[in-house]
């Protein structure tokens, strides 16, 4: 069945920086079409794991397969082919400061396709509007954008080549609640329209409750818990409890269950 197809398979991955062990024997699977979230405290190796999935870093041992390609044994041509099927939105945007937003978004097309300039500009303008930005934003430079706009512009660039897999590093960090809510909707929309698989790192409990299908909790170099937010909230592991039992964790959970009961009443 297509729904159960595994697009990312991480098995027995270990990573260390010198003496410091970041991951030890991590196993994870991400299925096609799901929104998968990785959470964990600072220094729990979330970002390192993400960097390993997007070919920026290699684990010390273990294997990672992305879209059926083994990352440990691929040559430059395969790596290039794989990169075109991934979209990444970096925490601080990663937009090129010397290009305006439209040029940033059009850059992958300019590099990898034979389309003419006018079409590239047109497609880039469309992507910018898909990401929820006003058309005027296209001619602005990254240094002139607010935090929320930067994230959206970065998302637009990540989506330029219609990736099968979208990686998001802290998509809502530093955003006001309204913009963060916009990101929730945007992600769900994108997944439903394009059948995207999304892997994200986030601390945003609201986003997790609203959007994530499955969540992996990293801690002490291992996966401490894996499941939907509902399942996780019933687990007893201390790392997970810590995550849910803070006042913020409870507020986010209440909000979601409140919405659910309202829907039932209707």
């Amino acid at each position: 069945m297509a729904d159960a197809e595994t697009v990312i398979e991480i098995s027995h991955v270990s990573t260390r920086f010198g003496e410091h062990v970041v991951h030890e024997d991590v196993d994870l699977q991400v299925r096609r079409g799901e929104i998968f979230a990785i959470v964990g405290g600072s220094g729990s190796g979330k970002s390192t794991l993400l960097r390993e999935m997007i070919l920026l870093q290699r684990p010390d041992s273990g294997s990672i397969r992305v879209l059926g390609v083994d990352l440990q044994s691929l040559d430059e041509v395969q790596a290039q082919g794989l990169r075109l099927r991934l979209g990444v939105m970096f925490q601080h945007g990663g937009l090129f400061g010397s290009l305006d937003v439209r040029e940033n978004v059009g850059l992958p097309l300019r590099e990898h396709t034979a389309l003419d300039e006018a079409s590239i500009d047109g497609i880039a303008a469309w992507k910018i509007s898909l990401a929820g930005l006003a058309p005027e934003a296209g001619t602005q430079y990254p240094s002139e954008l607010s935090g929320g706009m930067l994230k959206r512009a970065s998302l637009a660039r990540a989506l330029t080549l219609d990736p099968e897999l979208l990686f998001l590093d802290e998509p809502t960090a530093g955003l006001d609640p309204a913009s963060a809510g916009g990101v929730d909707e945007l992600l769900l929309n994108l997944r439903d329209t394009f059948g995207l698989t999304v892997v994200m790192i986030t601390h945003d409990l609201d986003l997790l409750w609203q959007v994530a299908d499955r969540v992996a909790v990293l801690g002490e170099g291992k996966v401490q818990g894996l499941g939907s937010m509902d399942e996780l909230s019933r687990m007893a592991h201390p790392t997970i409890r810590q995550f849910f039992d803070g006042p913020r964790g409870r507020a986010a959970a209440d909000k979601t269950s409140g919405q659910a009961t309202e829907q039932v009443k209707e």
């Binding site: 500009d121 898909l130 080549l161």
Partner: protein, 372 residues
């Protein structure tokens, strides 16, 4: 080799009112089809059938290009009918596509306008620089009034990094410069049998002009750029703003120690360059002209007056002021991102060297008026 094997997108027109699409209508499969579509025409105002049964892949790039075609056909008065599209693709095709061909923002400006803008920018920058010098003067006056507020640690740190650490490079370059001057003059002097005057030449040119100028240029490249980069990075990462909110005047902490340190250190470096330069000249004089060390020094003392020495050393503090003010000024003008730091750093070095040479020329005019 193509990274991914995709069937290129294609379009066929079996009858005049039928368009059959096939292949991958994706960013990587579309190729140059975009341009072919523009040439495509459908005669008469008839119904056009767009058959998508053979399409293997469709992404937003394909949708965009297809929508552009459909819109054009509809605009020409044709009734467009879609046929054979898989449900997945037809859902994508329903995406609202906006073809806002927002005009490129790059408005072409005329040469005259550019010149005007450059003049205004230069004028504005000169005013800002003047303001900056004023701020420094105020801060300096405050520090002199309250010496306890002076920050000695950064001053000492700057003396080491801008002065002591620069000794090897300045020593080596002035030594080489002394050699070059003596070597170039050797031929001419030998013709007139005026070998001993090599001491006059090397001594006066090194002490009055070359040592202070070379030292200032090296320090501008070494330390002036570092000042601009340091302050620029701090401005970008909001450290300067943080300093202000904590109640520390950035000029007091970042600029004054640098100015004081360089004003102390640049004359010392100039003296060091004097010594090494003359030493280089001496070695070359002995090798090329047969003027021994003793004869050279004998003549050197007679030829070079204390005034000549003091003129050279006296320029150094002025050059030091120029280097620090320009470096820090450009650093504070950094705004935006990392790119701006690089631009301001380059600008600081170019302007500092330019102003140092201009100041040197003005000194020459002044001293010749004063008959020094």
């Amino acid at each position: 080799m193509k990274p991914l094997s995709v069937t290129p997108a294609a379009i066929a027109q079996p009858t005049s009112s039928e368009l059959v699409l096939s292949g991958c209508w994706t960013a990587l499969g579309i190729g140059v089809l975009d341009r072919q579509l523009e040439a495509l025409t459908v005669p008469s105002k008839a119904e056009v059938v767009v058959d998508g049964a053979g399409v293997e892949g469709l992404d937003t790039v394909g949708v965009w290009i297809l929508q552009k075609l459909l819109q054009r056909l509809r605009g020409e008065g044709h009734v467009v009918q879609l046929r054979g599209w898989s449900p997945q693709f037809s859902k994508l095709l329903e995406l609202v596509v906006q073809h806002s061909d927002a005009p490129r923002s790059q408005s072409r400006s005329f040469t005259l306008e550019k010149i005007g803008r450059a003049v205004v920018a230069a004028g504005e920058q000169a005013f800002a620089l003047l303001g900056f010098i004023g701020e420094i003067a105020v801060a300096l006056a405050g520090s002199i009034a309250h010496p306890a507020r002076m920050r000695w640690r950064p001053i000492l740190h700057n003396i080491r990094s801008a002065g002591f650490d620069a000794l090897p490079i300045i020593g080596l370059l002035s030594f080489l410069l002394g050699i070059v001057i003596a070597y170039q003059s050797a031929d001419q002097l030998r013709k007139y049998g005026a070998n001993i005057f090599v001491a006059d030449l090397v001594g006066l040119s090194m002490l009055r002009e070359f040592a202070p100028l070379m030292t200032a240029i090296i320090v501008a490249g070494r330390s002036g750029s570092a000042y601009a980069a340091q302050i620029g990075t701090m401005a970008v990462t909001e450290e300067i703003d943080a300093m202000r909110t904590i109640g520390i005047a950035p000029i007091e902490l970042l600029v004054l120690p640098k100015i004081l340190a360089l004003i102390i250190v640049l004359p010392l470096l100039t003296f060091f360059a004097d010594v090494l330069g003359v030493f280089g000249g001496m070695i070359m004089a002995r090798a090329q002209l047969g003027v021994g060390f003793e004869d050279f020094l004998d003549r050197f003392v007679k030829a070079v007056s204390a005034t000549a020495y003091m003129i050279g050393i006296g320029k150094a503090p002025v050059f030091a002021g120029i280097i620090v003010v320009v470096g820090c000024f450009q650093g504070f003008r950094t705004s935006g991102g990392a790119e701006s730091v690089g631009r301001q750093t380059t600008r600081s070095v170019v302007q500092a060297i330019f102003l140092v040479i201009v100041a040197d020329a003005l000194f020459s005019v002044l001293f010749s008026l004063l008959d020094l």
